[in-house]
Assembly symmetry: C2
Homo-oligomer: 469 residues x 2
């Protein structure tokens, strides 16, 4: 694509649309604040936007996008910048459009168990708001305290509860979108079922901001599960932990969380949080298992079934969390593994996913590949979904080893995923950093269909260019 550059006239036009308070340029903004719009949570990458706009609503976004469309200016929408694949990075510079001011919960519809929400609402804020009226929005990425729902849609985010409740995509009924041509549409209807034309709603989810900018979302909600049980199960062998996952489901139990953590994942996170834990020396991995529902007696029955499954394995003392505080602490440790790894070292996070029973094979493969190429990894993730986050630690790898040398082992890892029936991203998206590997997951025929769809939506290719494919 041949993009144009920003002109003083365009800056004036943008300023008229959003107001002078809500336009940032390198010349006028405070340097650190400005630079933050060129980063997300992906490695240590940075790309400078030419201008940052913070519009208030869909109409302003439509006007901005029309100008970008007309003047062939790249535009990259941005949520909270917590993405892990570089999806929000403005790699062709141009406009960064922040959705932080579209941050209202417009309606919680208790009669229909729905919520109408702007994309800049933080995931946890919605969870809390609906819980106050006894309702439940399940998708809960690790960054739920800061990530925006718009970003959750764009990246098809998951989280621990996905194993029972599905991912973001399973809670979206309808989306208001500003198309790359500036038109504003709703993708569907506010109904649980819809067989009226192609599913543009699901096409938009996971399209990483390349097909349009999300400006309003209609979610479906569930009754809040009032009870839960949380247990931490230590294993003396990593692969046994992975095996126990599939066995649990075969026993007829669908946990609301089934998280795998290598010993180091849990240790690093506890240290990062200043939580004192001391693991017996022979423990190599843990499963964090949550059961939820409306009836505690019922959950204890299920917990007994889980214990029966675990008896087959070489496990240590199972910790059954018996207070809300203890549960919070365990989940906090789990959620902060990513932060702890980031704090310890520059790292690359691979979001591998396979059918869940293939997890032991995948885990073994990760370690074997790491051993052969000489890198260390810390693994954890949503074992119930077969979704393993492989954190490759930079440690003392040279620039050459880090930037180039890892491409072969990562390719091997992804080929293993695909061979096992899986793919290269379960919930983080492809964005920028996995783009070079997408050919491992998808042949040219698939990619050309995607490129064709992109062209239909975005004839000038202005929207988040250079991502996915």
């Amino acid at each position: 694509m041949d993009f144009q550059r920003l002109t003083p006239e365009l800056i004036t036009a943008f300023e008229q649309i959003v107001g002078s308070e809500y336009i940032l340029t390198p010349q006028l903004a405070e340097a650190d604040a400005y630079a933050s719009y060129g980063r997300d949570h992906t490695e240590d990458l940075h790309f400078a936007p030419e201008v940052v706009l913070r519009p208030a609503n869909a109409e302003e976004i439509s006007q901005i996008v029309r100008l970008c469309h007309e003047h062939r200016l790249p535009i990259t929408a941005r949520g909270a910048g917590t993405g892990l694949s570089g999806g929000a990075l403005p790699i062709h510079n141009g406009v960064v459009l922040s959705t932080d001011r579209l941050n209202r919960i417009l309606k919680i519809d208790e009669r229909n168990l729905q919520a109408i929400v702007e994309p800049g609402v933080i995931n946890q804020v919605l969870q809390d708001a609906v819980r106050e009226v006894g309702l439940f929005y399940p998708p809960d990425p690790a960054s739920k305290g800061s990530c925006f729902l718009g970003g959750n849609l764009s990246q098809s985010s998951g989280g621990p509860k996905a194993v029972k409740y599905g991912t973001t995509k399973d809670y979206v009924l309808n989306i208001q979108v500003v198309l790359p041509t500036g038109e504003i549409i709703w993708t569907g209807a506010n109904t649980l079922k819809n067989a009226t034309g192609y599913n543009l709603t699901q096409l938009m989810i996971g399209s990483e901001g390349t097909l349009g900018i999300i400006t309003c979302i209609v979610f479906r909600l569930l009754p809040f599960p009032q009870q839960n049980i949380l247990m931490l199960v230590p294993f003396r062998q990593e692969e046994q932990a992975a095996e126990a996952v599939s066995e649990t489901f075969r026993a007829g139990i669908v946990p609301s969380g089934m998280e795998f953590m290598e010993r180091e994942a849990i240790e690093w996170s506890a240290r990062y949080l200043n939580i004192d834990i001391s693991l017996p020396e022979d423990i190599r991995a843990h499963l964090l298992i949550e059961l939820d529902g409306q009836d505690l007696d019922q959950l204890y029955k299920e917990a007994e079934q889980v214990y029966a499954v675990l008896e087959k394995y070489d496990v240590g003392d199972i910790l059954l969390a018996d207070t809300a505080a203890q549960k919070d602490e365990l989940w906090k440790i789990r959620r902060n593994i990513g932060n702890a790894v980031r704090y310890n070292s520059v790292y690359k996070e691979e979001d591998t996913v396979v059918p869940r029973a293939e997890l032991p094979t995948l885990l073994k493969g990760v370690k074997e590949i790491g051993g052969r190429y000489g890198f260390k990894s810390v693994c954890y993730g949503h074992a119930g979904d077969g979704n393993l986050h492989v954190n490759i630690i930079r440690g003392d790898l040279t620039d050459e080893q880090w930037n180039v040398g890892l491409q072969d082992p990562i390719s091997e890892l992804f080929r293993l995923c695909v061979k096992l029936g899986g793919t290269i991203s379960g919930e983080h998206g492809i964005g920028l950093v996995q783009k070079r590997y997408i050919g491992i997951a998808l042949p040219d025929v698939n990619l050309n269909l995607m490129r064709g769809i992109k062209q239909v939506f975005d004839p000038h290719g202005i929207m988040n260019p250079g991502k996915i494919f």
Copy 2:
């Protein structure tokens, strides 16, 4: 589109691909058998194919499609022909491709709770096969005893269990598709999560055979719920039955079935099945409510909560089905309403859907519109999903009234759905018969995006032309 006609050379080429046993032409086939390929379950419509092909596998389908692509020959894929919107009708003649020989369950993967299935497998056959190993495939359209899973995907089919378990789309992980150019792809991966490029899997589901021919499906499965409770609740006012639906969910209960039936729906179906029921004179409608799970005590607790909700309404004696035979009979009555209506009269079935709490308003609107335009309707459907099947009975309407006069009231009905946040098809698709109304649900911008996508997949427009938009 300018289509070409079939030539003797093409017939020979097709015969070489599928074998002479599996090609039917008007000249050679028995007339009735041939005519059946020009019909489905939609009203009394018929369009004659020029040739019917019954290939054995994806490779044969690919060869057939390549020929059609090259020679601009329309091709319409066909499952069991149970569709209710005319999706399988070859309105531009050409090739009808039957998937009835792709009828194998290739694998039931108990380790991963998945099944790999060909599109010509009957829904009930899959349900029974997975149940034998303790697993559960929930989507259950009324025609489950005869409809094909490929058709279920194409039309985004639902069924009574969708209220708790979702529709077909929620169980499909990956699809093998022969594209309109003849290429064979898989749309995704065999994983519960996938954030790897655009969601071609969900784009294919509900695309009504216009984007490709489904040749293999990977489903996810659940543990089979071992227990259930079924109750039939009679109401003295239709709208109260509709109101009780939303109240049940607000009480925190998610039934596995929540079906609405007008008095006449249940009466006609019982008569059609030769089942003796006698309803008290003042009963106007019923809700059929099913609860399911692994623990019967738990279900009785939930049933008590349902009773507490129902106490607010003017209901008759609640029938709690206490044997498997009684449950089967009640479900049989529900499932055969469509057949009974068809047996009584020519009819048009409108597959209206709204947010569930708007059901009373929709129902009132249906009757008001019917009263004003002078037609009778029998209403029933998946109340828990807000999905109401409105059967307009031909009765003694003239050809003019039936073919032209109903367009205005149906348009009014659909505009009401859209005004209530709903749309014009919940689970039957648009196909041929709802096509003229799609503009009520979707503006031109949406339709043009869909047409653009169609063009990307099918540049010559050969695949099921004339459907949806």
